[in-house]
């Protein structure tokens, strides 16, 4: 979202909301659909996607001694891996 223009952000906010819901444990069932969608987006007939890896990144906001707060460095982990089947690309 941070890389989009103000207008694009206004149109694409729903993607931020979706991405907020995607990593939650109770929403695990969303992950295969998301992986298939990404596979279709990134496939061509000559170069079909074979694997999709969803990577989650985060940064904690922590209080400092002077009462202010600062974000910590970014961390990341693999949220989900999916082996794409030919029928996923139909």
């Amino acid at each position: 979202m941070e890389q989009l223009s103000l207008t694009e952000r206004y149109f694409k906010e729903r993607y931020r909301k979706y991405a907020e819901n995607l990593p939650l444990d109770q929403n695990d069932a969303l992950l295969p659909d998301a992986a298939r969608y990404i596979a279709r987006l990134n496939s061509t007939p000559s170069h079909p996607a074979r694997t999709v890896m969803l990577v989650q990144k985060w940064s904690f906001i922590v209080p400092r001694a002077d009462g202010s707060y600062s974000p910590e460095p970014w961390g990341q982990h693999i949220l989900y891996g999916y082996g794409v089947k030919p029928e996923d690309l139909q």
Binding site: M1, E2, L6, R9, Y10, F11, E13, R14, Y15, R16, K17, Y18, N21, L22, N27, A29, L30, P32, D33, A34, R36, Y37, R40, I61, P63, G67, S68, Y69, P71
Partner: protein, 308 residues
Amino acid sequence: MRLRSLFEAWNAFFFAPQSPIPIALFRIIYGSLVIATLTLLRPDWLAWYGPHAWVSLPTMHTLEPGTRLNLFAIIPQTDASINALFWIFLGSAILLTIGFLTRLNSLLVFLCLASIDQRNVYILHGGDTFLRVAGFFLIFAPAGAALSIDRLIRVRRGKEDASVEPRSPWAQRMIQFELALVYFATFCAKVKGAPWLQGTATYYVLHLDEFKRFPIPSWFLHPLMLKLESWTALMLEFSLGVLIWVKELRYIVLTLGLLFHLSLEYSLNIPLFQWDILSAYILFIDPADITRAWDWLRTRRAVHPLAQ
């Protein structure tokens, strides 16, 4: 106070006829917001709701089982039929806004709005839910009784005269209650969290990069100011849920609420949320004050050099 007088006050509050101007104005704003919502969604109609959407219909049924008011579940899962549903939805929202076949279109808009909400609940914000619930009550409200094509037709046919007849406001009252409940429930949820009570919550909100919109002055982010902002938000949400019902305080509370939402609209990128909520403020304005404001505007327009 006697039980009988309490009962009479209850009855008068919900059913004593009043001018339908506030609910008609709400209909226009509401319809415009639905049109804006659909316009913002337009590039992604199929990405979110199509046969190969980010969340498929079977997955949605698995995650949210049970009977749902969802037209997507009964129409053919093709790009053409999904697009057709959206165009019907958009057309209906336009007709609702101008007040043509108001009752029918308020029903259609509610059905379609409920459907897109149920088809993908993972992309919604509070404003979407607010519009959906308000849309249900709008079906029963005399929303086309004023400022509408429907009324124009009735007047032309001699079925109504120039003065707008007062109507029962119970559906309008339900939307007012909905708004007050939104604020009060938000207040109750926030006071359970330590950051809101300690006054640090707004720091986190204003430092989420993906939410940021326009730049905020640095003094606004001073720890003392952040505490003040967090506590002010709590007080405002309590006031908008409770004190809004006190007639003497209503306009003060509404003005502060308006400023609160405008400041959020400036600083945070949550498209249409602030406007969705603000739309119902009009229902708290006394119809006599709306008429006075309209007359004042007309007088000003009449004396304006461009209007002569």
